[in-house]
């Protein structure tokens, strides 16, 4: 088995998931300049709600598996959109004009609240994904790839292309871009910035829900703390690509996924056996710091001129 191509595939899968979550961070940041710390928790709720629906329907109904899966997917997306909408209403909207760090603290507070609510509902156990996807393995260029991995990469690409078209071509997308540039001017043009902001949160939450299901189906059991690390990594990816930049989040997600996976594969060789794959995150963060030293606004971030 070829390590390089295997790590490439692993990195692409991980990267697509990071990218989907990172998009939520970056869209919100682009419009509000706010780090939505609770976004990782939305991902976790996506995984949890889909699991709950899956288990309930598999047990109590005789519907075909594909249909149950579709229902779980839609249920999780709907739930997370509602969640994203309410988080913005409750925790961020009252602080629209507050000092910059105040919404960061409410975001952290929301994140704690959501995590512990999930713990009260689903307990502290690790919940595994039911065995409904028949795994097939293929061999490509000396690497193993499963149909699940292919599905994740393809779905992520489709979603990202869809989002890109939505933002570039649709009325809503144009309104979002206008609001990001200047909420006041957008309002003068007849756009309701509050509705656009809500829509942005819901869009991000929908992507996060799908990413949550992917993580659960591919990497293993869901847990009420799973959102924290995922959110952190996705946020890192968004910053890496240039926060506020949609294409940047996609690129940043993929790059971070690849860095982590190659890091895990090669770090032991690189450090002469001193560091094992448990240093994977160290590797990722070090590369992040190095990249930011040379490109202080991320890979695709615009260099904002100093206002004097």
């Amino acid at each position: 088995m070829d390590i390089f191509s295997q790590q490439l595939i692993n990195g692409l899968v991980l990267g697509s998931i990071y990218a989907l979550i990172a998009l939520g961070y970056t869209m919100v940041y682009g419009i509000l300049g706010l780090i939505n710390f609770a976004h990782g928790e939305i991902t976790m709720f996506g995984a949890m709600v889909s699991l709950a629906i899956l288990h309930a329907l598999l047990l109590h109904t005789g519907l075909p598996t594909a249909m149950i899966f579709a229902l779980a997917l839609l249920g999780a997306i709907g739930f997370c959109m509602a969640l994203g909408f309410s988080i913005e209403r409750v925790a961020y909207r009252p602080l629209r004009n507050a000092p910059r760090l105040a919404p960061l603290i409410t975001a952290i507070g929301m994140s704690i609240v959501l995590q512990n609510t999930a713990m009260l509902i689903w307990g502290k156990k690790f919940l595994s994904f039911p065995d409904i996807i028949p795994i097939q393995r293929y061999q490509i260029a000396g690497a193993n790839i499963t149909n699940l991995q292919v599905a994740i990469i393809v779905l992520a690409i489709v979603l990202m292309l869809g989002l890109w078209t939505l933002i570039q071509r649709s009325r809503l997308g144009r309104a979002m871009r206008a609001t990001a540039q200047s909420p006041e001017l957008a309002a003068l043009m007849g756009i309701n910035p509050n509705r656009i902001i809500s829509a942005t949160f819901m869009l991000g939450a929908a992507l996060a829900a799908i990413a949550g299901i992917m993580v659960n189906a591919y990497y293993g059991p869901a847990h009420y703390t799973m959102g924290f690390m995922l959110g952190l990594k996705a946020f890192t990816a968004a910053v890496l690509g240039g926060i506020g930049n949609i294409a940047g989040a996609m690129l940043g997600g993929l790059v971070l996924g690849l860095i982590e996976s190659f890091g895990a594969g090669y770090i032991s060789q690189l450090s002469g056996g001193f560091m094992g794959s448990n240093y994977q995150s160290v590797f990722a963060f070090t590369v992040l710091i190095i990249i930011l030293v040379f490109r202080p606004s991320g890979l695709l971030g615009e260099r904002v001129g100093e206002r004097v």
């Binding site: 000092p99 609510t117 160290v282 030293v293 202080p296």
Partner: protein, 380 residues
Amino acid sequence: MRPGLNKLQTGWHALQRDRRSVVITWLALGLILACLPFLTELSLGRSWVRILDFTLLYIMLALGLNIVVGYAGLLDLGYIAFYAVGAYLYALLASPQFGLHWPVWAILPLGALVAGVFGVLLGAPTLKLRGDYLAIVTLGFGEIVRIFLNNLNTPYNITNGPQGISQIDPIQIGGIDLHQTQHLLTLTIPSTHLYYYLFLIFTLLIIFVSIRLQDSRIGRAWIAIREDEVAASAMGINTRNIKLLAFAMGASFGGISGGLFAGFQGFISPESFTLFESIIVLCMIVLGGMGNIAGVILGAILLTIFPEALRYLGEWQQLLLGRVWVDPNDLRLLIFGLALVLSMIFHPAGLLPSTRRARELHARRSILAQEQDSLYEQQR
């Protein structure tokens, strides 16, 4: 906006104008602080004296972070790394891990120094970064330090990995072992009380340094950088050095409190230095009132005491609802998070904001009018 607090503040200022009442107020405050551990033990029990000790440690930490975030405006999400550096330095130099048993007065300054060097190490590559880019790099730095502490048990055992280091020497000062109960005349002073007094001295020292820094040339340079870095450098401030100094200074406060923590606890492991801890310390200063020393202290006290008070949730449920419906430990963090959200929504600038911040918050209304107000105030 908050007549109660404002009235309290005007009252305080009026008190300060009268010289005799100043002396009396400070004497009373000193007396309360001196008796606090005994009063606490009498009313709430020994375990609360321990919580009091931790409150003091967190006040020190929060004041250190306040220099970086509150004064210099550099959002640091990895601050706990410096606490870890101080704690591990103490643990390595005064425990059976390497068989070293250095005295505390040698370790603490060294801890402050090493943490300060780490602060510069973090600061140097991040000088060009702004706002949230800085936040993520500091966060990454904190994680890197934690992961190293967690894994440096192979191939060479330095930190003992996830098991942590135990049997750390207790703090000894002038032959007095703070882990032993001491007798002074007729008074019996338990170990927790002794640590309380030690921490209190350090806390007062750090408060003093913070106050002196605030109005010093360096402190004003920090605030200038926070408000507008370009303008600050145009005024002749060496922004690079001043920012590095903020990182180093904040870090050394963290290093000292880390050392005290290790000696007090006798055991440390990487688990005490997670990102969550960094976030909590940040919450303390934002919730209390960033840049304002009294606010930061209040925030640290509230966020240390409040989660502990929530441990009684079980008894309250018993009292109010007849039985324990939800395990208090499961409910604790949930309520803590809710309190954070609510407190920020109702006090966006913190409970005791610095005057400058309070003004900024209302600035949208009429900066001009306020400027004029303050001009009039000065003329009067």
